[in-house]
Symmetry: D2
Subunit: 83 residues, 4 copies
């Protein structure tokens, strides 16, 4: 998960960068481009965590014959995530 | 724009919170719920910046008869933003 | 708006195509790829309608000094649209 | 899958409804609200198909020890789907 933490640190830096842009009264469109870059980066981290989760927890649950609840839980978070 | 900066500071804190959750090896679903909360918060900031931009820059451009370019630029960033 | 109507007719055809795929018990992944293509096409129509709306109704409202309500209404639908 | 087909038929009807709205030159905001309702309905069908796919194909693959490819394929379509 070190890679994930590094990506989150980069995202934290990007959020600070946007704060600075707002303080410096930078052009709104440039701020929006930057926010949308953070959105993409976060979504990408979300997908990595999801893939990891399916490869481990969900797969284990399925192998133990307990896949149903695990898959339902996954779908609920995917729905929230895609809003 | 002070409100916007405060919201960005809260988002920065949330991103740090997710780093900690990953380091502490917390349950993936809880991490995903947290990431999706950050997505919503960021999207909401994006909408505030967009509304402000339309109320100021785009409106001014329209009043000066130069709305077309300004609206095109806005639509391009909206498309990127909604990906 | 003829172009928009043609694009909507194509989307209608794509939705019928997905019905056929489901009836023929086609592979889920292929169905999902097709659904996501319809999503993109619909989003693109939404953006065209939005751009048209800003170029006409919103611009007129701004020129008449009544931009505020018009922009608020626009932002509300953009928020719903981006869910 | 009968439920899915019924939902797709309703979506097809909604798309035809939007065509009529455009032909009748209805207010853009009303058209956008309708398009966003179709987006939600399509997304919901997509989630049902995805859940079904995980419950069947992906689960079977995992039980046969071939989960890895199946999960990768699923993630790729989820990424496309969430664009």
């Amino acid at each position: 998960m070190d890679k994930i933490i590094n990506r989150l640190k980069r995202i934290e830096g990007q959020v600070r960068g946007v704060q600075k842009m707002v303080e410096d009264d930078r052009y709104c469109i440039d701020i929006l481009v930057q926010i949308s870059a953070i959105q993409s980066a976060l979504k990408s981290v979300g997908f990595s965590v999801t893939e990891r989760h399916i490869n481990h927890c969900v797969s284990d649950a399925i192998l133990k014959g307990e896949g149903k609840e695990s898959i339902e839980e996954l779908m609920n978070v995917m729905k929230q995530f895609s809003k």
